[in-house]
């Protein structure tokens, strides 16, 4: 249990960057949602690592709240995606640029 925290932080930074790249190059809204999950998980890993390194429980509490927010985000995001696909099958993120209510 005593691997250097910097290893975890580097891994989390790489994971976050992969999420960023995926969010920028993919146009499928579902895959973009998964990339957001990757970035949230990178942040979670950082929180837990700092929780251990600073000997403080609060980092783990923050991860708990991130999990709740991620669940809510996925539910609302998928609701929006279903509403978009009902109007236009196979819509990508580029097709939804009008923001017409």
């Amino acid at each position: 249990m005593s691997i250097e925290p910097s290893w975890y932080l580097t891994l989390a930074a790489v994971l976050f960057s992969i999420g960023v790249i995926g969010l920028l190059i993919r146009r499928n809204v579902l895959v973009m949602l998964m990339c957001v999950e990757l970035m949230l998980n990178a942040a979670n890993l950082t929180f837990v690592t700092y929780s251990r390194a600073l000997n403080d429980i609060s980092g783990q509490i923050a991860v708990f709240f991130v999990l709740v927010v991620a669940a809510a985000e996925v539910v609302v995001g998928l609701g929006i995606i279903v509403a978009i696909f009902r109007r236009k099958a196979g819509a990508t993120a580029d097709d939804a640029h009008l923001l017409k209510g």
């Binding site: 691997i3 920028l24 579902l30 609060s58 609302v76």
Partner: protein, 250 residues
């Protein structure tokens, strides 16, 4: 068990099993993440996401956050990814698609550049100071003897009670939002939309009035078919192949 954990926390140098566990979990995490962004099939991307989340859970165990590791698997892979898979299969987008589409010229190069820039910035910022700064144990110290669950529970229901209650409000709002978004607009006798109902997310044709929404939906198949049956000349083989793939995903 607790004495074993205590000994593991106290030991200063990483043992061989720790390093092996970390390296394997890190490879699973990164491989899964790359699989998510480079898989052309959304279902495979979701399964790759599962492997990433599982690797993260292993790292949580490695860092003595056992409860979060369990919650990670139960909530993320058990609920969130299953939800995403449900939507993928319900919408019928579980087909191959073009992974990289350029909205403007050279978009993927800019995207990779920005991603690497983020990574370099984060690592530079972390290295310019030491990795970890800040006071230790400002709220509540981790205790190696009491279990992780009871520590989290004690903290959550004392120091963090108000944020905990706020998350319940957040979840209610999310549920109501999902129900409102996923609901079919009600139709009246004449087939049109009722008063006050708006035609959400009309993407094709901003000028259409709500009553003709069905007609525009019915006509959507036409351009897809015309792409699929487009005559292929020898020179434009590659282009029309790409268009075909696009047509399959649409």
């Amino acid at each position: 068990m607790s004495t074993y954990l205590l000994a593991a926390v106290v030991s200063a140098h990483p043992t061989i099993p720790d390093i092996v566990t970390f390296v394997i979990a890190a490879l699973v995490v990164l491989g899964g993440a790359l699989g998510v962004i480079f898989n052309s099939n959304p279902v495979h991307a979701a399964l790759m996401l599962v492997s990433t989340l599982f690797g993260i859970a292993v790292l949580f165990v490695e860092e003595n956050a056992q409860f979060l590791a369990a919650v990670q698997i139960i909530v993320y892979t058990g609920a969130i990814v299953v939800l995403i898979l449900f939507v993928i299969m319900l919408l019928g987008v579980d087909k191959r698609e073009v992974v990289i589409t350029d909205t403007f010229k050279g978009q993927q190069y800019y995207a990779v550049f920005m991603g690497v820039l983020v990574l370099v910035e984060v690592l530079l910022l972390a290295r310019s100071n030491s990795w970890i700064t800040g006071a230790k144990s400002t709220t509540k110290a981790l205790s190696p003897t009491t279990s992780n669950v009871s520590q989290l529970g004690q903290s959550l229901f004392t120091s963090y009670l108000v944020p905990f209650e706020a998350t319940s409000a957040l979840l209610i709002v999310a549920i109501i939002g999902a129900v409102v978004l996923a609901r079919q607009p009600r139709r009246n006798q004449s087939g049109g939309l009722e008063n006050g109902e708006t035609n959400d997310f009309e993407l094709d044709d901003p000028g259409t009035d709500p009553a003709s929404a069905d007609a525009s939906l019915a006509n959507e198949e036409v351009p897809v078919k015309s792409v699929n049956t487009a005559p292929k000349d020898e020179g434009g083989q590659k282009v029309s192949d790409a268009e075909n793939e696009l047509g399959v995903s649409r």
